[in-house]
C-alpha cells in the first residue's frame, strides 16, 4: 500500500504503543503500525477520532517512546541513544492541536524566538528565523512587539505555528493546524504552511480530518482506521473509493459530492474533482462549451 519507490524521510516500523502500562487503564493506542512518510512533500494524515493520529504525532518527535517497534529518521532509530532525544525534537517540529496555550513570553517576537533560542543559535540567526517564520505564518510586523495575550484566537494560532517553524525542522508535524478557525483563518494558515514547504522543501505531515482541506493542500494522503494504515495515495486514489471512506468514518469532500449531484442531474461535468478550484474551472468549461465533450477524467 505504501509507496516504496521514494525513500521515507521518517518511518514508524511495527510500532505498538500502550497507555498506562501496568494499571487497570492499560490501552493500546496503536498496534503494530508501519507508516512511511516521503521526503519533501506534504502528507495529509487522516482518520476519525480515536484512530491514533495524535499518538503518532508524539511518537514522531520522541515525546512518546514506542512500547514496541522503532521510529526511524533517514533510516536511523531515534531511540538509539535516549539521551539525545532532545536533538530529535529540533529535527522534528511538532505543532499540537490548539497550540495557542503554549504562548508565554512578553512579546510575540520573543515567543517565536523561544525554540531557536533553546537550540543555541546566534542572535542574528534567531532574528532572521523569527522574521522568516513570521512571514510564512502571516504574523504581521506590527504584531511582533505586542503581548501574545492581546491577540485574537487566529493570530495566537499563527504565532504558535511560527514558533515551531522558526526552529526550521527537517520534518514538521502539525496536528489539526486549522481546527476551530473561520474559513479565512484556515486558508491563511494552510496557505502559509504550503508556501513554507514549497520554499524549504522539507517534509510536512498535517493531521486533519477535513477532506476539503487535505484535497487542496496535501500531496499524498494517508488514511488510518483503528490505529492501522488503511489507504495511501494521491487525493484521486483516496476519494475514488467513497464506500471505503465511509466504512472508516470519513467521506469525500463536499465539492466532490456536489459535482456528482450535477452529473446525476444530467449535467456533463467531469469526475475526479476534489477541490473548489478544480470544480470552478470544470463548471466554467462546461458553461463555455454548451456542448461539452463530457467526462475525460473518469473515477
Amino acid at each position: 500500500m505504501t509507496d516504496t519507490s521514494a525513500t521515507p524521510k521518517i518511518e514508524l516500523r511495527n510500532v505498538t504503543y500502550r497507555y498506562s502500562i501496568g494499571t487497570p487503564f492499560e490501552k493500546a493506542a496503536l498496534e503494530n503500525v508501519s507508516l512511511q512518510f516521503e521526503e519533501g512533500i506534504i502528507t495529509g494524515l487522516m482518520g476519525h477520532t480515536g484512530s491514533g493520529k495524535s499518538t503518532i504525532a508524539q511518537l514522531l518527535n520522541g515525546l512518546l517512546r514506542p512500547t514496541e517497534g522503532q521510529v526511524l529518521i533517514d533510516g536511523r532509530d531515534i531511540w538509539d541513544s535516549p539521551k539525545d532525544i532532545g536533538a530529535v525534537r529540533f529535527r522534528v517540529g511538532l505543532v499540537f492541536q490548539y497550540p495557542e496555550y503554549q504562548l508565554f513570553e512578553e512579546t510575540v517576537a520573543r515567543d517565536i524566538a523561544y525554540g531557536p533560542t533553546n537550540m543555541g543559535l546566534s542572535q542574528e540567526e534567531i532574528a532572521r528565523r523569527v522574521a522568516e517564520a513570521a512571514r510564512f505564518a502571516d504574523v504581521t510586523p506590527d504584531l511582533l512587539e505586542k503581548s501574545p495575550f492581546e491577540l485574537s484566537g487566529g493570530q495566537k494560532r499563527r504565532v504558535a505555528i511560527a514558533g515551531v517553524m522558526a526552529m526550521d525542522p527537517e520534518i514538521l508535524v502539525l496536528d489539526e493546524p486549522a481546527a476551530g478557525l473561520d474559513p479565512q483563518g484556515r486558508k491563511s494558515i494552510l496557505d502559509g504552511i504550503r508556501a513554507y514547504q514549497r520554499e524549504k522543501k522539507n517534509t510536512i505531515i498535517i493531521i486533519s480530518h477535513s477532506m476539503e482541506d487535505m484535497a487542496v493542500y496535501a500531496d499524498k494522503l494517508m488514511v488510518l482506521d483503528h490505529g492501522k494504515l488503511y489507504r495511501y495515495g494521491t487525493s484521486h486514489d483516496i476519494f475514488c473509493h467513497a464506500e471505503d471512506l465511509k466504512r472508516v468514518g470519513l467521506s469525500r469532500p463536499q465539492i466532490t459530492k456536489f459535482i456528482m449531484e450535477l452529473q446525476r442531474a444530467g449535467i456533463d461535468v467531469g469526475g475526479g474533482i476534489y477541490t473548489v478550484d478544480d470544480a470552478y474551472r470544470e463548471v466554467l468549461r462546461v458553461f463555455e462549451k454548451s456542448l461539452g465533450k463530457g467526462a475525460d477524467r473518469s473515477c
Binding site: 515525546l63 499540537f96 496555550y101 508565554f104 533553546n118
Partner: protein, 268 residues
C-alpha cells in the same frame, strides 16, 4: 508523569465503604485519626496497622494502587523516621559515636511514627477520598459544617469552592501535561542545568497554566451565573442523604476499636 499520582483520587466502586453515608464517613475518619494517635504500644500499633489493611480489603480497591500512592510521601516518612532515631533519648543506649547516640526508644519511636503515618494516609484515603465521589464528599462536609452557619460562616460557599477545586484537579493535571509536552517540543530542557536554569525552564509552563486557569475560572463563573447560581440560599438538592443501618454498624465497630486501643494503653 503527573497522571501517575493516585493519592486523593476517587476510585469508583460498590464496596461497603463506597456505600457509606459521606457525613458518617467524616465522623468515622475523625474517630479513626484519634485512634491512631491514642495508640502507644507495640500491640496497639500492630492492631492499627492491621485495621488499615482491613479497610483496604473492604474497599476492594487494588492494594497495588493504594500502596503505589504512598511513594509520594516516602520522603516524609523517611524524614520522620530519621529524626526520631537520632533525636530521641531514652534508657537503652544502642550505638554511640561522638555526639550521635541511638537509643532503643528512638528506633521504637521511628517505627511507631512510620506506622502512624502509613495508617493515617492509607486509612483516611481509603475511608474518604478513594471511596467517596468529590460531590458526595463536599455534600457531606457541607452538612457536617452546617451548624457553623449560625456564626455567619459561608459553609455552602466553602463547600462549593472545594467541589470546584477537586473537580478541576484532573483537568489542570491534563493541562499541565499538555503544556509540558508543547514546550518540550520547542526544546525546553527540564532535567539538566543549574538550579537557576531549571527554575527558569518552569516559566514557560507556569505562565500558560495560570493564564488558562484564570480564563477557565472566568468562563465557569459566567456559565454558573447563566444557570442562575446565586449561592446556597434556598437551594434544594437532587439527592438527599439517608443514614442506613450499615452506617451505624461501621460506627459501632470503629468506636469499639477505639475502646480496645484505649484499654490496651491502660493495661500495658
Amino acid at each position: 508523569m503527573l497522571k501517575d499520582i493516585t493519592l486523593g483520587q476517587y476510585f469508583p466502586g460498590d464496596s461497603i465503604l463506597h456505600r457509606l453515608d459521606p457525613r458518617m464517613k467524616i465522623f468515622l475518619i475523625v474517630i479513626y485519626i484519634v485512634t491512631i494517635f491514642v495508640a502507644n504500644n507495640p500491640v496497639s500499633f500492630a492492631l492499627v496497622l492491621a485495621s488499615a489493611f482491613i479497610l483496604v480489603l473492604l474497599s476492594r480497591i487494588p492494594a497495588k494502587l493504594i500502596f503505589g500512592g504512598l511513594k509520594a510521601v516516602f520522603f516524609i516518612m523517611l524524614f520522620t523516621a530519621v529524626i526520631n532515631i537520632f533525636w530521641t533519648s531514652g534508657e537503652h543506649l544502642l550505638v554511640s559515636f561522638g555526639i550521635v547516640k541511638i537509643y532503643r526508644e528512638g528506633i521504637e519511636y521511628a517505627i511507631f511514627m512510620v506506622v502512624r503515618v502509613i495508617s493515617l494516609i492509607v486509612g483516611s484515603s481509603v475511608l474518604l477520598t478513594y471511596t467517596t465521589s468529590p460531590i458526595a464528599l463536599t455534600d457531606g462536609l457541607e452538612r457536617v459544617l452546617a451548624p457553623l452557619k449560625v456564626l455567619h460562616i459561608p459553609v455552602h460557599e466553602f463547600s462549593m469552592m472545594m467541589t470546584i477545586a477537586l473537580r478541576f484537579i484532573p483537568t489542570l493535571i491534563e493541562e499541565t501535561d499538555r503544556i509540558i509536552n508543547a514546550q518540550k517540543a520547542r526544546g525546553t530542557d527540564f532535567s539538566s542545568g543549574t538550579l537557576m536554569q531549571r527554575a527558569k525552564a518552569l516559566i514557560p509552563i507556569m505562565v500558560p497554566l495560570f493564564v488558562s486557569a484564570f480564563h477557565r475560572a472566568d468562563e465557569l463563573a459566567v456559565a454558573m451565573e447563566c444557570r442562575c447560581y446565586r449561592g446556597g440560599e434556598g437551594r434544594t438538592r437532587m439527592t438527599k442523604l439517608h443514614l442506613h443501618a450499615r452506617d451505624f454498624i461501621v460506627l459501632a465497630v470503629l468506636v469499639l476499636f477505639l475502646g480496645v486501643i484505649i484499654s490496651m494503653n491502660i493495661w500495658f
